[in-house]
Symmetry: C2
Subunit: 263 residues, 2 copies
């Protein structure tokens, strides 16, 4: 069955988009078919796959606000087996536009379930769906958390990282309680690890102590190649496969794939 | 007259908090009295000054939602001449709680104007007020943009940085048009500059080309000391004054102080 996962953390710049994009590509390289849904009005995941997101491009906005079917906005990337639901800047208005709509929290879930159901009949058959979230716990993130069964939390190896985690976990519990009983945090991925600093090993130790079982064994190092790749319209896996960043995301893919089997 | 400035950028992790905190301390070292208002539910600016922000601490939430006077929540830090209006996790609920309230966008402005008016009568006389924003363009950021006269935009020297800038500038214009005619972007500060990468100099050149006049001359380098300081309850200025990060923020303070004089 398809695994549907959101990347969420209201702390900004922790590697949500980089993880959605690079983990998706790594899983594709391991032979899986993957869909990435971009729920961030900035559209960074859309850009990372070299997909146009000018205003007016059919996007997740049309799905949420106008009820357009997902099948009408999904785009294939240049890499077969990897598709994207783009985000455009219109999405910034969706939170306000949906506030008083009926079923506002479940718009993405309904559209995604419909699409995945059609895919079972007539393809494509995805193995993984990743939903990239903006750095907030507003209606867009709530839509994502309602639509998925797993949350993968990227956690930057920096001091402020652990501060916001309590808020995130309680938001996940609220959504689980009121909107999506199947929701669970399936993993915490430590990102931008820089072993030369005193701080990073402390954050790792703290995270493993606070969240035993959840923190993935694989750490993603800070690697310039990861931040350079999007400027070439590439993921780090295709931009520089031998880099420490690419190798780490391949290891994350293997670990994440295995970890899911046991549940 | 007091200058009132917000740090805004919906892109996450670009250095909004680090700039609010370190620029405030640098200006204090140059002899000015500074207030920092934390409008981010994560409370990172509050933590950076070693101020407690457990739920229940009097905070900016009480000001926005319950109409508490700012004077009742302002706290002195351990450094004289530097005060903070704390944020607590309750603030995460404020956006939803304020949605249908009258004058929801002007709650901070009214409270701040009241407080600064009282300060003219009976002190303390601030020279600068910085308002730190969360990484979104929701009601908390709109409150901040309505309450200030200047916006200082931290821009990370990374690829995704320029993507969201158009959205931010149009939000500033919307607030200027409907809520705060005095609002202007007074500066763009390039942060986390790492000269060893190919990318950073390109982002700098792009930013200077797109935003002539606005980009500050001073670049803030990527410096581990900046990210380590908050784990010691310090700013980088007091944690390691000789570090490249501390020196850069002192130079930013001098440039920013001068730049304001001319307008
Ligand atoms: N392992 C890494 N090494 C070096 N740089 C990285 C790494 N992961 C991400 N980055 C860079 O750090 C910045 C923040 O990452 P990213 O945009 O993926 O975070 P995010 O959580 O999606 O941000 P936002 O909160 O704005 O959505 C980006 O410029 C990205 O290229
Ligand atoms: N010049 C710098 N050099 C190295 N690290 C830095 C620098 N400036 C900020 N950082 C670190 O980068 C991370 C992001 O910075 P910061 O939290 O200030 O950004 P922000 O824009 O306030 O994030 P958010 O969008 O979550 O509010 C933090 O861990 C911070 O310590
Ligand atoms: Mg992102
Ligand atoms: Mg911040």
């Amino acid at each position: 069955p398809v695994r549907v996962i959101s990347l969420a953390n209201q702390k900004g710049g922790v590697g949500k988009t980089s993880t959605a994009v690079n983990l998706a590509m790594a899983l594709r390289l391991l032979g899986h078919r993957v869909l990435v849904v971009d729920m961030d009005p900035q559209g960074n995941a859309t850009t990372a796959f070299d997909i146009d997101h000018d205003p007016g491009t059919p996007s997740v906005y049309d799905v949420l606000v106008n009820g357009k079917p997902l099948r009408d906005v999904v785009q294939e990337t240049q890499w077969s087996g990897l598709a994207v639901v783009p985000a455009t800047v219109d999405l910034a208005g969706a939170e306000v536009e949906l506030v008083s709509e009926l079923g506002r929290e479940a718009r993405l879930r309904n559209a995604l379930q419909q699409y995945l159901h059609e895919c079972e009949q007539s393809g494509p058959r995805y193995d993984f769906v990743f939903v990239d979230c903006p750095p907030s716990l507003g209606l867009l993130t709530v839509n994502a958390l309602t639509a998925v069964t797993e949350v993968l939390v990227p956690l930057q190896c920096e001091y402020y990282a652990l501060e916001g985690l309590g808020q995130l976990l309680s938001s996940v519990n609220l959504v689980k309680e009121h909107l999506n009983p199947q929701l669970r945090v399936s993993g915490v991925l430590l990102t931008m690890f820089d072993g030369r600093t005193k701080l990073a090993p402390q954050v790792v130790a703290d995270a493993r102590e606070h969240l035993p079982e959840l923190v993935l064994d694989t750490l993603v190092p800070r690697s310039v190649r990861v931040s350079e790749a999007p400027s070439h319209g590439q993921t780090v896996l295709t931009y520089d496969p031998r880099s420490s960043g690419a190798q780490a995301y391949l290891a994350v893919a293997r670990e994440f794939r295995e970890k899911g089997l046991s549940t």
